[in-house]
């Protein structure tokens, strides 16, 4: 770091810090997806399609999640119904 750098504001993260932050987010996301079975994305789509047949909802108002504990898996479907 040069003498003149001391006058610069320290508010902005360095590009390496930015890289680390972006990586942590994407890697965590992809690890989560990796743990899920292969059929989950398609099943998610089909569940959403069935709900859509009856109720007008957006894609992002439905969340389908699979959580596994030691001896049982729980499939959780959350639908936010419009008012």
């Amino acid at each position: 770091m040069s003498f003149f750098d001391y006058f610069r504001s320290k508010a902005q993260p360095t590009s390496a810090e930015l890289a680390k932050e972006r990586l942590q987010i994407i890697v965590a996301h992809e690890r989560g997806a990796r743990a899920n079975p292969d059929y989950l994305p398609q099943m998610q789509q089909e569940i959403i399609a069935v709900i859509k047949k009856y109720i007008a909802i957006d894609q992002d108002q439905v969340s389908v999640q699979l959580d596994s504990n030691d001896d049982c898996s729980v499939l959780e479907v959350n639908v936010t119904l419009p008012d």
Binding site: S2, F3, A16, E17, L23
Partner: protein
């Protein structure tokens, strides 16, 4: 019992073949009978990096298809005792590698060799999967750069789910991180991910840090594994990595840029 080591990364151009050549040579120099196998069918390059490209007669696929014996296809390294190279086929495609065929060849090699190094192709297709399937140890070669780190994490996922050890629920593949093309000056300037950044994200033990070095290109120009260049930083760093692989505890070197003089620091020059 032979140890099978895969050198893998997901991303291309990070230094897998350079690493395979260096680590293989290092293990042979330490007295272990070692073979390095090129799994990059169609794009072989290990022969060039190890300087034996003009001695290739038969290849890995010939052996799998029983068109040649292992002894016919193995190339004995001219510089280093105990070191052999099994080149990839340049004319066939990756489907020539079958799990059964690769398994039979590795079993036969395991009878006489101490270490079998599998130089993986880039990507996550068949060639890469075959290279890592039988591994006991994985050296995940990574550059301090976002796409390389992400791909390495993907490869770790495949090691943990699609390797033989994962399928048989054996003890998992031993994973090691090898950080290559590391530039300490750029890390200090906040322009490059640091060793600890990459360790934080990938969360596997660090085998070594190879500094970005002019010696690597020079070594590949002449077809000499860079580890034989004892005077170079990269050669010494690979040497340390081999010793760690053999169980020695060595402090990591080449992690910091050389100190600048007072005037250089004051004026911020390079």
């Amino acid at each position: 019992m032979a140890k099978i080591i895969v050198v893998t990364s997901g991303k291309g151009g990070v230094g897998k073949t350079t690493t395979s050549a260096a680590i293989g040579t290092g293990l042979a120099l330490s007295g272990f009978k070692t073979v390095v196998i090129d799994f990059d069918v169609g794009l072989r390059n290990l022969d060039l990096i190890m300087g034996c490209e003009r001695r290739v007669v038969y290849d890995f696929v010939n052996v799998i298809k029983q068109e040649a014996t292992l002894n016919q296809a193995l190339i004995k390294d001219k510089r280093t005792d105990n070191l052999f190279i099994l080149p990839a086929s340049q004319t066939r495609d990756k489907d020539a590698l079958t799990q059964e065929g690769v398994g039979i060849v590795l079993d036969e090699l395991a009878e006489t060799f101490d270490y079998i190094i599998c130089d993986s192709p880039a990507g996550i297709e068949k060639g890469a999967q075959m290279a890592l399937y039988f591994a006991d140890v994985a050296i995940v070669t990574t550059n301090p750069e976002v796409s390389s780190v992400r791909d390495s994490d993907r490869i770790l996922g495949i090691l943990q789910s699609k390797s033989r050890r994962a399928e048989k629920a054996d003890e998992p593949v031993q994973e090691h991180l090898l950080l290559t093309r590391y530039n300490p000056a750029r890390v200090d300037a906040g322009e490059m991910l640091s060793v600890s950044d990459v360790e934080d994200i990938l969360a596997i033990p660090l085998l070594g840090v190879i500094p970005e070095s002019e010696a690597v290109l020079k070594a590949s120009n002449s077809g000499t594994p860079v580890i034989l260049d004892n005077a170079s930083d990269a050669g010494q760093a690979y040497d340390d990595a081999v010793q760690r692989l053999l169980g020695k505890e060595l402090e990591h070197r080449f992690l910091h840029a050389p100190k600048k003089g007072f005037f250089q620091r004051f004026l911020g020059g390079k």
